[in-house]
């Protein structure tokens, strides 16, 4: 691997993925209008069995990979994986039914196939892999799946899975049809349901039915490629190879060391060769590490974005012309160049991210002060106004909102910036949340595997920061979620995007490409559009 920095194209990114070569990307699938066949029965054929035939020869077996994570991992608990450190650790030990990489294709993992029953997208049947054993010797069966899904989706559950999938699947609706067959009875039709039980909802990694919540760090039991040897809060985890892993011959590594490190310490350790992988390298680190010939950087297109939301129920943002005026002040290409070092995609104030492949066609919103001023005048704010913008202190957001402040200042809007740590930004129980209650807010959103997991603009959603209510949007999003037909999906996506584009509940100026830094001696690391790390086929040279 050359040390020279090159931004991998989508295609070259796929080539790093053992699964990827020869498979369809999600965008390809949509482009070919083959979503019905490929995303269901067809895609299930691209599981590990199919992948194994295309597997790359390992550079060398053995060795321990050292990961650095900027997180304060206080606990690793599969019920709620709220830090990157906990998530990456748990995903080496526990496996979900389905795994998806950067191409967002759902591939069976603990399942062998999945399909809707009688073409009813609200009733899915998963066939489970036989012969899989937990490291305590118990066999993996449908009872484990039912037990765990009912645990994380129980009424009043505090698991993040309940937040993400609770409106689709509820307790009691995961049924064991046989020892290796599970049915999911959904609240509504969901075409991409396999992604709801994939690594993109990390709490769907399945522990045995005997698992007692809160005991994972002491008694870690899973089916995954690695065994948790030691977890030290705020310090990291040590994992060793699972010698009885069900995928014979895997993993290639002997172990994994995950360290919680502050960002400067991570960068220095990477520079010194004391780390092999930063699964989510902060953008600022890319500037420092790009010149190191022993470090390779990759950027993966993602659906991660910064939501600059405006309360549509409060003055002055209750007038859509004011919101559009704000959107027209933003110089988006310069944000990508300046803030993201060129590693991002233009946003157009809707949530249908390019990676979903809907190919939405709308005029790209550009900086246009003249039109913005006209809109502001028409709304009765010709002299501008002053408003507070609250943002989370995360990644490039403080710089982003400073630029926004400067750009909207050109039409007389004065933004008073308030930057909060995440503990304060997301709020305290029983008190107003800056994120959800303040009039103008900038928050980061992680990438999701499907727009069906991006539901926060629906009317009444708990995370609807702009307090936007559009019944048509909600209806269309649910329709899109339940649509298999590619042409119909594109039409619905176009309509959804148009509604958001016209009404501008939030400015979505860009999509962030996920930066990942690795030592050049790390091979065959699948790319994902999130922090998830699949280390099964990774080798060290």
């Amino acid at each position: 691997m050359s040390g020279e920095f090159k931004r991998p194209s989508k295609r070259s990114a796929e080539l790093e993925v053992p699964f990827g070569a020869g498979s369809y990307s999600r965008r390809d699938v949509l482009r070919r209008g083959a979503i019905a066949g490929a995303s269901l029965g067809g895609l299930s054929l691209l599981g590990p069995g199919a992948a194994a035939a295309r597997e790359y020869a390992p550079a060398a077996k053995g060795g321990t990979i050292r990961l650095g994570i900027e997180s304060t991992t206080n606990v690793v608990e599969p019920y709620s994986l709220n830090t990157d450190g906990a998530l990456i650790c748990a995903q080496q030990v526990l496996e979900p039914l389905v795994w998806a990489n950067a191409d967002l294709i759902p591939r069976p993992l603990l399942a062998t196939s999945f399909a809707p029953v009688n073409n009813d997208l609200s009733h899915w049947r998963f066939t489970l892999r036989q012969g899989v054993k937990y490291n305590n010797g118990a066999s993996f069966t449908s009872a484990d799946v039912v037990s765990w899904m009912d645990t994380i989706l129980a009424p009043g559950s505090t698991s993040n899975a309940a937040t993400l999938t609770g409106s689709v699947l509820t307790k009691g609706n995961t049924k064991a049809v046989g020892p290796y067959t599970v049915d999911f009875l959904l609240e509504r039709a969901v075409a991409q349901f396999p992604l709801f039980v994939s690594n993109y909802v990390p709490e769907t990694g399945i522990p045995p039915q005997t698992y007692k919540t809160g005991t994972f760090a002491k008694s870690p039991v899973g089916t995954g490629p690695f065994l948790l040897k030691q977890f030290v809060p705020y310090t990291g985890s040590t994992l060793v190879r699972n010698p009885n892993y069900w995928q014979t011959g895997l993993p290639y590594l002997d172990g994994v060391s995950i360290r919680d490190l502050a960002l400067p310490a991570q960068v220095i350790a990477m520079e010194a060769g004391d780390l092999d992988l930063m699964p989510q390298a902060p953008l600022v680190a890319s500037g420092v590490l790009r010149n190191n010939p022993k470090v390779a950087f990759s950027f993966v297109e993602s659906a991660a974005y910064r939501e600059l939301s405006m309360r549509v129920d409060k003055k002055p943002f209750n007038d859509p012309r004011v919101r559009e005026a704000v959107a027209l002040c933003i110089d988006r290409p310069s944000l990508i160049t300046g803030l993201l070092h060129g590693e991002g995609q233009l946003g157009n104030d809707h949530i249908l991210a390019p990676i979903y492949g809907y190919n939405v066609k709308l005029p790209q919103r550009k900086q246009d002060y003249r039109k913005a001023q006209q809109l502001l005048d028409a709304a009765g704010y010709s002299k501008g106004f002053t408003v507070q913008l609250t943002a989370q202190d995360d990644e490039e957001i403080p710089e982003y909102i400073s630029i926004v402040q400067q750009q909207v200042g050109a039409i007389g809007i004065t933004l008073e910036l308030q930057i909060e740590e995440s503990t304060q930004f997301y709020g305290t129980a029983g008190k107003p949340s800056p994120w959800l209650d303040n009039i103008m807010v900038c928050a980061p959103w992680n990438s999701r595997a499907t727009q069906g997991l991006q539901v926060w603009f629906q009317s009444g959603n708990a995370f609807n920061a702009p307090h936007w209510k559009n019944a048509q949007f909600t209806k269309l999003q649910l329709q899109l979620e339940g649509t298999l037909d590619a042409a119909a999906a594109r039409t619905l996506a176009q309509e959804l995007a148009t509604i958001m584009y016209d009404d501008v509940p939030a400015v979505i100026a860009y999509w962030v490409d996920l930066p990942r830094a690795r030592s050049v001696k790390v091979h065959a690391l699948p790319l994902t559009s999130t922090v998830h790390v699949d280390l099964r086929r990774v080798t060290l040279s």
Binding site: T72, N74, V75, S80, N82, T83, G156, S157, T158, N160, A162, T163, L164, G214, V232, P233, Y234, T235, R259, D260, L261, A262, P264, A265, I268, A269, E271, A272, G273, D274, E420, E421, S422, T423, Q424, F425, Y426, G427, T428, A429, G430, S433, W435, L436, A462, F463
Partner: protein, 319 residues
Amino acid sequence: VIVVRRLAKRLLLTLLTLLLVATLIFFLAEVLPGDLGRTLLGPEATPAQVAHLDAQLGVNRPLPSQYVSWLGNVVQGNWGKSYLTQQGVLSVVVSRLGNSMLLAAFSLLMVIPLALIAGTVAALSRDRFADRAITVGAQGLIAIPEFVSAIILLLVFSVVFRLFPTDAQIPSGAGLPDALSHIFLPAVTAGVFVFAYFTRMVREGMIDALSSAYARTAVLKGVPRRTVVWKHAFRNALLPTVAVIGAQIGGFGSLVVIESIFDYPGIGRLILESANGHDVPMLEGAVLAVALVFILANLGADILYGVLDPRIRRRRQVA
């Protein structure tokens, strides 16, 4: 009887101080931004989920009620469990405090002899080049924040020359040289400020002692200069320095930054982690431990002060 009474008085004062610190921290923790349920569940939990978990954990109870139950447990020797990690507070605090003490001790062992030498050399060559170089150098070192000196040391010694590891975590089963190599850079970082401060203290103390009447008398009596310096002046010059060393042993403030940068599992980082996570039992335990060490270190400095200065011993005996 006098000694026992004095000890009892000191003990009572210590307990009162600890109670005051504990009370202060408990109520200050309440005004820290954030929420325990939010920390545990992360940003993607709904407000309702956060409120539900807070209620389950009992952290939504009125503050006085939480305080009374916490204090009652501590008085009975039960320091409780961490809200976040479910570890026993006492065992974690003892382990982390031990790590920090090791780091501080290693740092002081390196720094104190160097500071004594540098301060003495500066005093003996007062207003000459060596004095100016040491004084200006010390002034410069005091001005460098720990996070800057830590990064510089890491870049030079870990990245460029690869002499020391970038992290300070001592691997289990490591021998003494390996262990020391891991904590060398953080110890040096912690020692930079202390070295500069001690050097200046020693220099001032030495200059005062050398210009005192007894030193001049010794010189006039024909006592060799080396004897005047080491036997008469040095011991007296140490007195203010001892008090400062006592305060430094108990002062863990700079360790928060150093332990975070070097990924060292010490008490400073524990305080930071607990405060960030609203983990009140762990925060209380860690702060109380630091307060206790601070009080004991100052007590030790007082005793050492008496050993070094016979006048204090005699004054106490008369009293």
